[in-house]
């Protein structure tokens, strides 16, 4: 079925020919079909890598923004201090700070839930004094007077302010590493694509040697011959790029659906932290769509240079 689909594609994307008439370079050949399959695979890999990079980048920006809008006041148990009173004071101090939208002390149950992943469920922590947290929501992270809050909190024994700066730094570093790695992979896919196109073009030229010879004998210039082959390869590049991009879009659609329905809820949540909700958004779709002209241009330029070199070697 795939073979049948591929064989029909040239008719969907007819490439304009000089002077009209049938294509001088045959549209259906083993080398052409192989190149089409190869470019489809390379386009798919490029689009998936690019989409992955976009997802991670978007998630990193979202994490950073979320974490940046929140601070935590931690109050350690200190002998002689009343925890509930300290919590109320901390909330009041926080709410009185400019740029703070609200502050809330976590209940004992919420604190226990936070410790559950480390200590296990069902543990009674009422006998142990554990540090308590106040979550501070910022209205505007830029205008918030964090220094004032830090100064004011010195009045509470055992209180410290965590702005999550270290976390944000780590998240940004990790996201940056993923993005750079993705771009590196994209570059390697590009190099592999160029090399594959060079080999496929030389193979196509060798299998069409008779056509090249006849065109030379009837007075065709190398430029004309290269143009005929380039037209064919540009058409293959467009078809391969389009197929690869469509398959990649389908891949993201399926993986998004699968992540929501196949994976357990906890796993979905964890995957969601890294990749967000697998929704590419308009910018992701634009990036994937850009793979089509880039791959087509890469194919056309590479094949043209290869054909010109082949012809100059042949003559």
């Amino acid at each position: 079925m795939t073979r049948s689909l591929l064989s029909r594609l040239p008719h969907w994307l007819p490439f304009p020919r000089r002077g009209g008439g049938a294509p001088i370079v045959p549209e259906h050949s083993v080398a052409g079909r192989t190149l089409l399959l190869l470019i489809t695979i390379m386009s798919f890999l490029s689009a998936v890598t690019l989409g992955g990079v976009v997802l991670v980048q978007k998630s990193a920006i979202a994490w950073s923004a979320d974490v940046g809008r929140e601070m935590t006041i931690q109050i350690r148990p200190v002998e002689g201090e009343v925890m509930d009173s300290n919590l109320r004071t901390a909330v009041s101090l926080a709410e009185a700070t400019p740029g703070v939208a609200g502050a809330r002390a976590l209940t004992i149950e919420e604190s226990q839930a936070l410790l559950e992943p480390w200590l296990g469920a069902g543990l009674d922590l009422s006998a142990i004094e554990i540090p308590r947290l106040v979550v501070v929501q910022l209205a505007d992270p830029v205008d918030a007077d964090i220094e004032q809050l830090q100064r004011n909190l010195q009045a509470i024994k055992g209180a410290s302010l965590d702005t999550h700066a270290a976390w944000r730094q780590q998240l940004n570093t990790m996201a940056g590493t993923v993005v750079v790695s993705g771009l590196l992979v994209l570059g390697l896919i590009g190099v592999a694509t160029v090399l594959a196109i060079i080999f496929a073009t030389r193979g196509a030229m060798a299998s069409n040697r008779e056509i090249v010879d006849v065109l030379h004998f009837i007075g065709a210039s190398n430029k004309f011959i290269a143009g005929e082959f380039q037209g064919r390869f540009l058409s293959i590049g467009l078809q391969g790029g389009l197929l690869g991009a469509l398959l990649a879009a389908l891949f993201f659609l399926l993986i998004g659906t699968a992540a929501g329905s196949v994976l357990p809820t906890e796993a979905t949540a964890q995957v969601g932290y890294v990749f967000g909700s697998f929704v590419l958004g308009m910018d992701g779709i634009i990036f994937i769509a850009l793979v089509v002209p880039v791959i087509a241009a890469l194919t056309a330029i590479t094949s043209r240079l290869t054909v010109r070199r082949y012809l100059s070697e042949a003559s």
């Binding site: 000089r18 002077g19 009209g20 008439g21 049938a22 001088i24 045959p26 008779e210 056509i211 010879d213 006849v214 065109l215 030379h216 004998f217 009837i218 007075g219 065709a220 210039s221 004309f224």
Partner: protein
């Protein structure tokens, strides 16, 4: 139109295939080029087609020293030379019409412009009914007439034919040579037809260029 002066040709460091060729071909003339297999007929035709450069000597065509021409000028000159091969060398994925129209497409003519000329020529060579057929379904004679039509469609001044009758029966061979003679007579093309079929040569009175072991003699 064509002047060879002390021309020699060798491939790489091998022996000379053609030696001391000195001759002139007048415009509008018809010559047979003959000689035993391996005598250098095809090499001489390739020199005339400008697809080979002589190892020594001087080749002048259309009053220009071929050795001094750059690639573009050689290409322009080559467009004044048509060639017909023994093995036809038609492109099997193109119809007879498209094969014949190829030289005009190469020259950049639009189909609307060349269609009447190609159709007329195909009818003239007796392939009017076969213009939409692929070469794979044509007979040997039809293929060779299509190849001749392709060689002359752009009205070259010189027409070279390398054993054009090699793959057809004797009766058809004679008719094909008559076709070349007609092109020479009506269009004034200079024709050099290579063949080693001596009985065929005897039926026509054109001058013969005889190659033997790389040396050329011309018999009027």
């Amino acid at each position: 139109m064509i002047d060879f002066s002390d021309v020699g040709l060798r491939y790489g460091n091998g022996p000379e295939i053609l030696s001391d060729l000195t001759f002139s071909i007048e415009p509008g003339s018809f010559h047979f080029l003959t000689g035993p297999s391996g005598s250098g007929k095809t090499s001489l035709l390739r020199l005339l087609l400008l697809s080979l450069k002589p190892s020594r000597g001087k080749v002048t065509m259309f009053n220009e020293d071929v050795g001094k021409l750059d690639q573009d000028s050689l290409l322009q000159m080559r467009r004044h030379i048509g060639i017909v091969f023994q093995e036809f060398r038609l492109l099997d994925h193109l119809t007879t019409f498209e094969n014949v129209a190829l030289p005009l497409r190469v020259l950049g003519q639009p189909e609307s412009e060349y269609r009447p000329n190609v159709t007329e020529l195909l009818e003239w060579v007796g392939l009017g009914e076969r213009m939409h057929a692929l070469p794979t379904v044509l007979s040997g004679g039809e293929k060779q007439r299509a190849a001749i039509a392709r060689a002359v469609i752009a009205r070259p001044k010189i027409l070279l034919a390398d054993e054009p009758t090699g793959n057809v029966d004797p009766d058809l061979s004679s008719r094909l040579v008559h076709l070349f003679a007609e092109l020479n007579r009506t269009l004034g093309m200079t024709i050099i037809l290579a063949t080693h079929e001596l009985p065929l040569l005897d039926r026509f009175s054109y001058p013969r260029m005889v190659l033997n072991k790389g040396a050329l003699t011309i018999h009027d």
